[in-house]
Symmetry: C2
Subunit: 381 residues, 2 copies
C-alpha cells in the first residue's frame, strides 16, 4: 500500500427508468438552464431524448440541445459546444449518451468557464473550474460517468489527448442498464475490452504486493468475462447487462488504483495513437494492443502474469494467461491483429511516432521510446 | 443486480503523517471553530493530539477539546458533547480516534443542530441535517470513517441503536496506518472480525446471482485474513497494517451492497444486544454470534455457503467453511462461545428479548422472533 487520496463525489442512480429523475436532480441542485449534449440519432430514435426532455420540463429546467457528438469525439465539435454554452449562459451540462458524449460534455464544461481555447487544457493548462456536469449513460464502457477523465481528438494535429481533473466528476450519473440492451455485439465486445484494459494497466505496471487491489481487479475482470459471454448469447440478458454496466463503472472510478502507488497506462498510450490516426473504436484498438503489450511486458513482471493466469483462467503460466485472454477477444470478435482493422505493418513507424507524443506527456517516454512502441506493435502484425 | 443509489462523498487522505493536514483541510472548507472529540488517554500519550492541535493552530482553527468517549459510546456522554458544541457555537466536529469516537462525533454533529434530544434520532426521527464532520482515524474496524452510520448505547434502557444518514458522512477522513501499529492483538482480532461481519451480512442474506459483489466481498475477506495473520506475527508489519486499514474502510462504505437488493444485518442485531447488556467489545461479540448464526442459516442458503467455503478456504462444503472461519477466530484469539466472555447460558432469554427490540426496529422480527434468536445463541453455548 502507498499513500493516496480518494475522493469520488459522484452520485450514482442505477436502475430501469431512472432517467426520468434527471429533472428533479437538476432542480434539487439549483440548476435552471442546461446544455444537453448528445450524439447522433440513436437517442432520438429510441425515445430516450423525449423522456429526458419531459423530465427536464417537469423540473422547470430550460434546455439547449447540442447533438452530433461522434465516437472519438472531436475538438472542433467541442469548440462549437463551448461557444453555444457561453452564448446560452447555461448553468450546467447534461450529457445523454456513451463515453464519447460524456467526455465531450466534460470538455465543454471546462471550456465554458474559460477565455482560453479549450484545447489548452489538454496540452498545457490545469483545469481550475468547470460547469457542473450531469449524465444519463447509454453505453457501459469508459467509466466516464464516475471519474474526472475526458479524452478528445484534435483531428488537425492527430492528437488524442486527455484531461484528468476533480472538477469534471459528474455531480449525478444515471445508469439505466435497459438502455444498453440495444448495444450491438461489436460494441459490447469493445466495451468489455475497454473495461478490462482500464484495470490491467495498474495491475501489471504497479509494484507487487497490493493484494486487496489485485483481488478487486480480478473480480472485475472475471465479472466482465462472465457477463459478456452471457450477453453475447442473449443480448437482452437483463442481469448480465446490469452487472456489466456497474462493473465497467467500477473499473475506472479510482477504486482499483487507490493505494497501489505509481503505475502507467502504456496500452492506452499506444491505442490513442491508433484511434487518433485511423478512427477505429477504442476497444478494438485495445484488443489489438493489449496482447502484444502483454507479450512484451511478461518478462518484466512474471509473477503478476502468473497470478493473472491462475486467478482469471485457472492456468499455470503467464504465457497461457495472455494466450487465453487473446483467444477470448477472438471469441467475442474483437480484433487482435492490425490487419483486421486494415492497418498495414508499414504504418507502424508513423503510429509509434504519434504515440511517443503522448508517452512524453504522460512521462513514460523513458520506458517507451518510439522504437519500443514499434517493437510492441510488431507483435500485433 | 437490483436498483440502487450510491453516493459516498467522503474524501480519504491515506498515508503516514497525514494527520498534519487536518488544519488545512478544515481551513479550505471554511471552518473556523471545531469541537475535537476524542477518547481517553491513548491519543494524548501517543502525541497524536498534540500534532492535531498544532495542525489546527497552523490553520487558524479554534478548538474545544471534548475527551472521554468510551468503546460502545454512551448516550449520556453524547448529550454532554451536544451541549458543549451548542455552547461553544462550533462549526464542525473533528473526531480523533477509533470507531466509537467517530460514532459519538456523528451523533454530536446531529444533536448540535437540533432542539430535540439526540436519542430521538436513534429511535424515532429522521436526521435532516448535521454539522460537518472531519475525522482522524486511529483504529481500523468499523468503517465509520467513510459511511453515514453511528451506533450509540443508551445505558439506562440498555439499547444499542443506530442512525444511518447521508448527513453524517465525514467530509474528510485522514487514515494514517502507522497510528494503528500500537493496536494490541486482542483489538486487532476484534477489528478483523468486525470487518468480516460487515461484508458477510449482505453476502449471505441477499438474493443469489450478484457475482461482482460476491467477488468484492471475497476479496475483502481474503485480505482481512491474510493481513491479520501477518499483523499477529509482526504487529509493526507496515504493509499489512495499511492494507488492513483500507480493507476495513471498504468493508462498510456502501460498495459491497450496491446493487445486491434487500439484505439484513442479523449478526449485528444479535451482537448489539450482547454488548448493550455486557459491554463486551463489538468484535468479540460478533465472533461468538457469527459461527452460531451461520450454522443456523446454512440450510437457508446452501449454495452461497458452498461458494464461501470454496472461495475463502478452498474447501468443499458449507459446513467446512463455517468450521474454518470459527477455527480462524480461535487462532486469532477472538472468543467463539458465550462462556469465554462470562455470559451464562441462563442469560440467553434476556439477550434474545433485548435483541428483539432491534429486530423490530430493523424490520426483521418476522424472521427473528425472540425464540429464534435464543435458538441461535444456544449454538454459541
Amino acid at each position: 500500500m502507498f499513500d493516496f487520496t480518494f475522493h469520488n463525489p459522484t452520485k450514482i442512480i442505477f436502475g430501469a427508468g431512472k432517467e426520468t429523475l434527471i429533472g428533479s436532480e437538476l432542480h434539487t441542485a439549483g440548476i435552471n438552464r442546461v446544455l444537453l449534449v448528445h450524439g447522433r440519432n440513436s437517442v432520438v430514435k429510441s425515445g430516450l431524448l423525449d423522456r429526458v426532455m419531459a423530465s427536464l420540463k417537469a423540473g422547470n429546467i430550460e434546455c439547449t440541445p447540442f447533438g452530433g457528438v461522434v465516437s472519438n469525439p472531436l475538438l472542433s465539435h467541442t469548440r462549437e459546444g463551448v461557444a453555444l454554452a457561453k452564448r446560452e449562459k447555461v448553468e450546467a451540462i447534461l450529457a445523454v449518451g456513451g463515453g464519447s458524449v460524456l467526455d465531450e460534455a466534460k470538455a465543454i464544461a471546462v471550456g465554458a468557464l474559460s477565455d482560453e481555447d479549450v484545447w489548452q487544457f489538454f496540452v498545457a493548462k490545469e483545469v481550475e473550474r468547470a460547469l457542473p456536469l450531469f449524465t444519463v449513460l447509454t453505453l457501459a464502457a469508459t467509466g466516464s460517468e464516475m471519474n474526472g477523465n475526458s479524452v478528445i481528438t484534435n483531428a488537425e494535429t492527430r492528437q488524442k489527448y486527455n484531461i484528468s481533473s476533480p472538477h469534471v466528476y459528474p455531480k449525478v450519473s444515471i445508469l439505466n442498464p435497459e438502455l444498453t440492451h440495444s448495444v450491438p455485439p461489436d460494441y459490447t465486445a469493445y466495451s468489455a475490452v475497454d473495461a478490462i484494459a482500464h484495470v490491467i494497466e495498474g495491475y501489471f505496471t504497479k509494484q507487487p504486493g497490493t493484494h486487496l487491489q489485485d483481488r478487486l481487479v480480478e473480480g472485475i475482470i472475471k465479472t466482465v468475462i462472465e457477463t459478456t459471454d452471457l450477453i453475447m448469447a442473449d443480448p437482452g440478458h437483463a442481469k448480465a447487462r446490469a452487472s456489466f454496466m456497474w462493473t465497467a463503472t467500477l473499473a475506472l472510478n479510482g477504486l482499483t488504483p487507490a493505494g497501489i502507488g505509481a503505475y502507467s497506462f502504456p496500452n492506452h498510450m499506444i491505442e490513442h495513437a491508433l484511434s487518433a490516426i485511423y478512427n477505429i473504436p477504442h476497444g478494438a484498438g485495445l484488443s489489438i494492443v493489449m496482447p502484444a503489450w502483454m507479450k512484451w511486458y511478461l518478462a518484466k513482471n512474471p509473477s503478476q502474469f502468473a497470478r493473472f493466469a491462475k486467478e482469471i483462467f485457472g492456468l499455470a503460466s503467464g504465457e497461457a494467461g495472455i494466450d487465453a485472454l487473446e483467444k477470448w477477444f477472438v471469441t467475442i470478435k474483437s480484433p487482435v491483429r492490425l490487419a483486421e482493422v486494415d492497418i498495414p505493418a508499414t504504418d507502424i513507424e508513423a503510429i509509434a511516432e504519434n504515440a511517443e507524443g503522448l508517452a512524453r506527456q504522460w512521462g513514460i517516454d523513458g520506458l517507451y521510446p518510439k522504437e519500443t512502441i514499434a517493437e510492441i506493435l510488431r507483435l500485433a502484425v
